[in-house]
């Protein structure tokens, strides 16, 4: 009884603090999203056709054309690959930041990690295109070092998309891993070592399990936007960059079929939610 009382009381006190955030979220997300739900159920949004009516056809289109499923699977695989590379690259960096560097050195290295956040994402992607294309920076540099001629052209390929996306999203992984690694008491690592564990065993049995929440948070932050990404695939991927996200973008910007684009978006949202729901209990168990 007393517990519920204090909880209610606490909620009343917290209300003024919660209001701005939730009011904003309602306006900025809920309303546009509701509009999108409505659009996705329309037959057409063209102003010339007056007889626009409600239908589920747009959702049915996803299942009738195997292209959409293929592209969605491709996007999911891309999300998986990018997330995995981010873990492999980001976790060790976060470990060094959290557990080895101290003071000034840590601040400096940290800045280098955050730096991508400070540059415009479009600029970032275009600068990659200068590096990766044939006759670009990477190609020229390699040829000036290597004694034999190589043509190095990653531009407009799947690897280019992966490189661009890893670059964009790596800081999320470094930051979330850093936070969870930093929270691990150094004495725990020392305790494991004093009990005879090698560095690798300590990492596997103590550090990694305790840092798992950070890895998972980072993975979620990366996986979800990567699956729906369209800018990097469009600019760096060329023909190889046709993905679920770019198709959705096309519906809005090129084909002007907003109802189909909206429907495809909601299918993606549903698929991602299902993936998170299914994986949550498994991950909670391992954590």
């Amino acid at each position: 009884m007393a517990a519920t009382m204090t909880q209610e009381n606490g909620l009343r006190k917290a209300f003024p603090l919660l209001l701005p955030a939730y009011a904003w979220l309602t306006l900025a997300i809920f309303l546009p999203l509701s509009a999108m739900v409505y659009f996705s159920l329309l037959t057409s949004m063209s102003p010339s056709e007056q007889s626009s009516s409600l239908t589920l056809e747009n959702y049915a289109a996803f299942f009738s054309d195997p292209l959409y499923v293929t592209l969605l699977l491709r996007s999911l695989r891309l999300g998986l690959v990018v997330t995995l590379i981010c873990i492999l690259v980001g976790f060790p960096a976060a470990y060094v930041l959290a557990k080895i560097f101290k003071g000034r050195a840590r601040e400096a290295i940290f800045l280098l990690v955050i730096l991508p956040f400070w540059s415009n994402s479009l600029v970032r992607v275009f600068s990659w295109s200068m590096v990766l294309r044939e006759g670009g920076i990477l190609d020229t540099a390699l040829n000036s070092i290597l004694p034999f001629e190589v043509t190095f052209d990653l531009m407009y390929s799947y690897p280019a998309v992966v490189i661009g996306l890893v670059h964009s999203y790596l800081p999320y992984m470094v930051l979330t891993c850093y936070l969870s690694l930093q929270a691990i008491d150094d004495a725990l690592i020392e305790a494991a070592r004093s009990l005879g564990a090698s560095r690798l065993t300590t990492l596997r049995r103590v550090v990694a399990p305790l840092a798992l929440p950070g890895v998972l948070a980072g993975s979620a932050l990366i996986f979800i936007p990567v699956v729906g990404s369209f800018m990097e695939p469009r600019i760096l991927g060329g023909r190889g960059g046709t993905l679920y996200g770019t198709v959705i973008e096309d519906q809005f910007t090129a084909v002007y079929n907003w109802p189909l684009g909206a429907a495809l978006s909601f299918i993606l949202l549903a698929v991602v939610l299902v993936i998170l729901l299914v994986s949550a209990p498994v991950l909670r168990k391992t954590a």
């Binding site: 005879g196 564990a197 065993t201």
Partner: protein, 354 residues
């Protein structure tokens, strides 16, 4: 179980000499306390024996084997940390089993040894709990079980009781001593708590500014401290500072004190110490009445404060601009009031020449 030998070990952090040419041996099966104020280098010394820090100079031997460049996981030591450092992602049994598992022990052996270790610390019934479900004292026991289950050559404890409240701390001291006896492992215990060091250990090493100030049995250090630091850090002491003129110690205010009969110090600056409980207080009035003159050493003074603590009273006595402390057990004698003129008396043999 092994003898630990530290020889001429130094370690400098930047400009700070944390441990400065320390030599000390820890006999097989002994219970040692390293006592000192914070920053004295006691923890750094312990961490070098453990293998978390490596000495710039000097050698460390465990069981006759030079270990100063052996990494911590190869030293076969057990360590208990100040905040216990239990793995939050493992159960109590999992924590204790960890050291056995990383050594590649088989499942059956692990189960048996874990059960034995938990039995030893009387926590067999909590094997499946998580560390956060335990009280401070229970965590302490788990940490201890985890450290000794691997049968280490030496057990290192870094202020393990400092996070516990006083009553629990006393219990754990007794418990720790019992377990140490039962296991027989050489134990080195770092603390800044002098009572803890006195009550628990066979021998004490006092550290200050990175050096061993004095090393010996608790009674020996208490009765015969070699320096003012040792005298005042381990227990309480009144210090008489003055000049030795060949026969007596002359204080700045002109008073003179007889030395112990066997003391043969050089002329010049000299310090004497006396424990507060060795000082007797006699009201000046009573002294005049009995007519007993200045047979034993004494100083005249006035009581400025009385602190009552149950079985005893601590008096502060002002004499010649100095404040002295006297601890009087409460017997049949009545309490002395603040402001009473008294004579502080003592036996010459209780004076300690520093």
């Amino acid at each position: 179980m092994a003898r630990v030998e530290v020889r001429n070990v130094s370690l400098t952090f930047g400009a700070h000499k944390a441990v400065d040419d320390v030599s000390i041996s820890f006999e097989d099966g002994g219970f040692y306390a390293l006592l000192g104020p914070s920053g004295s280098g006691k923890t750094t010394l312990l961490r070098m024996i453990a293998g978390f820090e490596f000495p710039d100079e000097g050698s460390i031997h465990i069981g006759g084997e030079a270990v100063e460049s052996v990494p911590v996981n190869k030293r076969r030591i057990g360590m208990v940390f100040q905040n216990y450092a239990l793995f939050p992602n493992m159960s109590v049994a999992g924590n204790v089993a960890f050291g056995l598992q990383v050594r590649g022990e088989k499942g059956e052996t692990v189960r048996r040894d874990v059960a034995d270790a938990l039995e030893l610390v009387q926590l067999g019934h909590l094997a499946d709990r998580r560390p956060h479900q335990l009280s401070g004292g229970q965590r302490q026991r788990v940490a201890l079980a985890r450290a000794i289950v691997t049968k280490p050559r030496v057990l290192l404890l870094d202020e393990p009781l400092s996070a516990l409240d006083k009553a629990l701390r006393t219990d754990m001291q007794v418990e720790l001593k019992r377990i140490q006896r039962e296991v027989g492992v050489t134990t080195i215990f770092v603390t800044h708590d002098q009572d803890e060091a006195l009550s628990i250990s066979d021998r004490i090493g006092i550290l200050n500014n990175g050096r061993i100030v004095q090393e010996g049995a608790p009674e020996e250090i208490y009765d015969r401290p070699k320096s003012e630091f040792a005298a005042t850090f381990l227990g309480d002491a009144n210090i008489f500072a003055g000049t030795f003129d060949g026969t007596r110690l002359r204080l700045q205010n002109g008073e003179a004190i007889d030395l112990p009969s066997d003391a043969r110090p050089a002329n010049g600056d000299l310090r004497l110490a006396i424990r507060p409980e060795r000082v007797r207080l006699v009201p000046s009035a009573a002294l005049a009445e009995s007519g007993s003159s200045q047979s034993s050493s004494h100083l005249a003074g006035t009581i400025t404060r009385r602190m009552f603590s149950g079985s005893q009273s601590t008096y502060l006595v002002e004499s010649g601009g100095q404040e002295y402390k006297a601890i009087v057990m409460r017997g049949n004698a009545g309490e002395l009031e603040v402001g009473t003129p008294v004579a502080m008396q003592w036996d010459r043999s209780d004076l300690i020449v520093l």
